[in-house]
Symmetry: C2
Subunit: 320 residues, 2 copies
DNA sequence: CTGTTAGCGCATTCAA
DNA sequence: TTGAATGCGCTAACAG
């Protein structure tokens, strides 16, 4: 029936007729119990409501479906403490492999556990330094540098990096590192990072920014470590009576598609989010088949221009 | 071990110690094979990349997790022809129940099949007329009327309804019906609906609108059948050199959170999207336990004001 | 109160 | 080429 067995055409035809007659569908759980492996992949992401993760899951789902697998999807709600519990849940379901985005891809007991259990997994968005861990992402530090350089080229000198909590995002940390490196290359001191909860409401963001943006030497540009944060910060800055990009330029990271639709369009680092999810599944299957490569795979990013950044006005330009 | 059996405290302690020792985790598939039922729910939605669906899945996932269940998530990519295939896949996985959003909740062979197989399911966003089908949604016709009345109150008379394909969305159809009813109540003729692919790119939307918006009697307001479409249409209208809301007011449907962050904020019908997903799971468990209510449950919506609509300018106002 | 066993649906092995 | 038996991990029923 599954093509494995040997049977005459006649018998096969009769079996198929009977299957149709009784509308019989083979049960995956019987198959799973026998083979001790399922045709199911587990997915762990921080949240489904962030389009950047939803987009990767869309790619994961499509690719898994194309290969006859289904997806168990779970979310940590940005709580790293939940990673272990979700992994255990998925292991209990005997998933064939995992695709996940974690808070810290290096110092992570949950990943240690997966390694110890020899359960294949591929990370998305994470950029582990431990080379034996498989991941699909972009070069976040390079992207952070590229964005910073673009703003420097527009004449900005006081560029503030606004980050989601470093503790829940290595992307945020690496992008910030790229920013620091680019500032240093340009002979400028990096401003102290403004680290905040990017899920916070607009009020919280406004409060966090008000002192900084009212100062005489206020930054002329803000780089936000992700697009949702950038959109929220943009709204907060406008609420404070400042113009974007007239008074303050703003750029984000991630390349969520909504960023193209807002006006002005959000300047951001565009990642192939869906493709990253697809590619993670491709690599996961290679791992499951035992011939997979380890380590980080970088997909190309590009700077998406957008009306939220502009050349710095001469009057507000700081000393070169 | 699962609390069912009877055992002395001593034995239980020894068993638990052994479990910890061997890091033993009971396999869900063994349990499933025995009981012929899994602790897994299936989810079918058009797409994960539309925040309105992602948000409901987030609610579904949280509620399912709280009840010790996992989620198999699949997407039709807006192809109704794929519904049946996905349902069959999930049935083969012996899901305990389904939460889904379909193209047509009434004339739908796939749902007929679920009914015939007595597989419990609850729809989200769909609004079936067949009262034996369980669904959680808002009153889309009332919402369409409310939005239309708000625009009429601002002096708009030529209000165009821009819809995603009716064939893939009963929401779109019902919201349009509400628009028609409200226009009729106000003694105005409904404009011919502009039905288009809401996944189309901005170019396609611009092309579709250009004739309509260049006419002398162009509409002063557009109601879009969902928020993503509204954002895209807003961008297209602006590309044509028109101001929103100065020249054209635009309103959407769904209440995606991004709509609050764009500037001006998108006027829309706010639905409790996450709560709808949670509520669907609550009702699904009732159905699975055999004591569930049938039929459509309407959760409250509200008109979210936003800067994309404004009173009609006297010069462009049509005859009352 | 505790240890043993049958059987869920499938794939695999062995026997005919 | 085909049929029959086995066992995967678990739960429920039963025997001790």
């Amino acid at each position: 029936m599954n093509g494995t067995g040997r049977a005459s055409a006649d018998v096969e035809a009769r079996v198929r007729a009977a299957m149709a007659e009784l509308s019989f569908r083979p049960s995956e759980i019987g198959r799973a119990l026998k083979s001790l492996r399922t045709r199911t992949l587990g997915v762990i992401i921080p949240s489904l409501t962030n389009p950047v993760f939803a987009s990767s899951v869309a790619g994961i789902e499509a690719q898994a479906r194309a290969r006859g697998h289904t997806l168990l999807v779970t979310a940590t709600d940005y709580d790293p403490g939940r990673e272990r519990e979700l992994v255990d849940t998925l292991i209990a379901q005997s998933v064939a492999g995992l695709v996940l985005t974690v808070a810290d891809p290096d110092d992570n007991p949950t990943l240690d556990h997966l390694d110890a259990e020899s359960i294949p997994y591929v990370m998305v968005y994470n950029e582990p330094k431990r080379t034996h861990r498989a991941a699909v992402t972009v070069d976040n530090a390079a992207a952070g540098a590229a964005l910073t350089e673009a703003l420097l080229a527009l004449g900005h000198r006081r560029i503030l990096f606004v980050a989601g909590r470093f503790s829940t995002s290595d992307r945020s940390r690496l992008r910030h590192q790229g920013y620091c490196a680019a500032m240093h290359m340009a002979g400028r001191a990096a401003e102290p990072v403004l680290e905040l909860d990017y899920l916070g409401d607009a009020d919280a963001h406004r409060a966090a920014l008000s002192n900084l943006l009212c100062a005489a030497d206020r930054p002329t540009a803000l780089i936000c470590s992700n697009d949702l944060l950038a959109l929220s910060i943009t709204a907060a800055v406008r609420d404070m009576g400042l113009s974007v990009p007239g008074d303050v330029s703003i750029a984000g990271f991630d390349g969520i598609s909504i960023g193209r639709l807002v006006s002005p369009a959000l300047c951001t680092i565009d990642q192939p989010t869906r493709r990253m999810g697809e590619r993670a599944v491709e690599r996961l299957f290679e791992l499951m088949e035992g011939n997979g490569a380890r380590g980080v795979e970088h997909l190309p990013f590009h700077l998406r221009p957008g009306g939220t950044i502009a050349a710095v006005a001469p009057s507000t330009q700081g000393p070169a």
